[in-house]
Amino acid sequence: MEHGIVLKPEILGFYKNFPITNTLLVSWVAMAILTIVSVVATWRVKIIPSGLQNFVEAVIDWGYSTVEGLSGKKTLVLFPLVMTFFLFILTANWLGLLPGFGTITYKGEPLFRSVNSDLNMTLGLALLSAFLTHFLAVRYLGIKNYLLKWVALNPIFLFVGILEIISEFTKIISLSFRLFGNIFAGEVVLSTVAGIFAFVVPLPFYFLEIIVGFVQAAVFAMLTLVFMILLSEKHEVK
């Protein structure tokens, strides 16, 4: 299979009935990298940090203060979720820029493919984000207050409630397709430019993709955070 624009992830093999795609493989690689880095960085936590611990601390501190600034008391619950979204998407996006992606083949299919250029992965994350958002809303508000967000006796608010339910679905679609679209488009651009002239010319696009990878990860995490905060706040009914 030549460099074509393929929406579907390529299936490398099956484990029983379970298809193992190249994107799933890379998502495992991303998880492994994150795991190794965090274990190594916090192997011996020192009060005076150095090296990797220093770097990891800077990242965590930045994430924590950002989440804390927005969510206040809920930080302890929200931070791990949001930060994991961010770190996973960021690692996956930047991993997809490494050489070998799309070029190394296995049984005629590319062995590695950027995780988020597969709608399965982004939709999975978006569904999870939505599910967690609603779960936390129920937890913080109680089931009664949660339902009151959507249903009201006042016909105007009832209509607003219906609109909000629709917007919840749009959120899932926008979250998943934004990430997928950006990364997939980046992949296509990179392979196309590399197809025109493989030396030096793709470099600016690689820089662009580094930025896009960061921005998309940040956008996904921040939107998830904001949705979580908004939905777990009490709805003022007059």
Binding site: L7, K8, P9, N17, F18, P19, T21, L24, S27, W28, M31, L34, T35, S38, V39, A41, T42, V45, K46, I47, P49, Q53, V56, E57, I60, D61, Y64, F79, P80, L81, M83, T84, F85, L87, F88, D118, L119, N120, M121, L123, G124, L125, L127, L128
Partner: protein, 164 residues
């Protein structure tokens, strides 16, 4: 749902991604967030503590400085006082010494004048004694004979009466 097939959506893969996320969430919570946040919090506390301690130390230092200044001022005052007292005492002693020396000098003067008087008297007496001898000698020469003791006495007494 044609579009989902175009994108290769597979419920199993969706589920796999969700499971992946939870595994990653667990791992990162355990190995990254907890230890790092803990150490950050600990460091924050330590910095706060040391800042507080530094403040306290500064306060103490200030207090000690004030105290030492007070002590120095006090001791200076005392030293001045002692110095003044000593000066006064010295002045008094000097005055006393002057008085006593004046007394001694006047005493010595008196004594010296007495001694001079005594000497004078003694001298006069000697002169008288010698004068008696001289008179007798002169008398003997004049009269050409030796006088007896009785005569000598008479003459001396007579002459003495004349002299005094």
């Amino acid at each position: 749902m044609e579009i989902l097939k175009d994108f290769g959506i597979n419920p199993l893969l969706l589920a796999a991604q969700v499971v992946n996320f939870f595994i990653l969430l667990f791992i990162l919570k355990r190995f990254l967030y907890k230890p790092v946040l803990k150490v950050l919090e600990e460091r924050k506390k330590r910095i706060e503590e040391s800042l507080k301690q530094a403040e306290e130390i500064e306060k103490k230092l200030q207090a000690t400085e004030e105290q030492s200044e007070k002590i120095i001022a006090k001791s200076l005052q005392q030293a001045q006082k002692i110095l003044d007292e000593t000066k006064q005492a010295a002045a008094r002693m000097l005055e006393g010494a002057k008085e006593t020396s004046a007394e001694i000098i006047s005493d010595a003067n008196v004594k010296a004048s007495e001694i001079v008087k005594i000497r004078q008297v003694m001298l006069e007496q000697q002169i008288r004694e010698h004068a008696g001898d001289l008179i007798i000698l002169a008398f003997e020469k004049i009269i050409g004979k030796r006088l007896t003791g009785k005569e000598q006495k008479e003459i001396i007494e007579e002459e003495m009466k004349n002299i005094s």
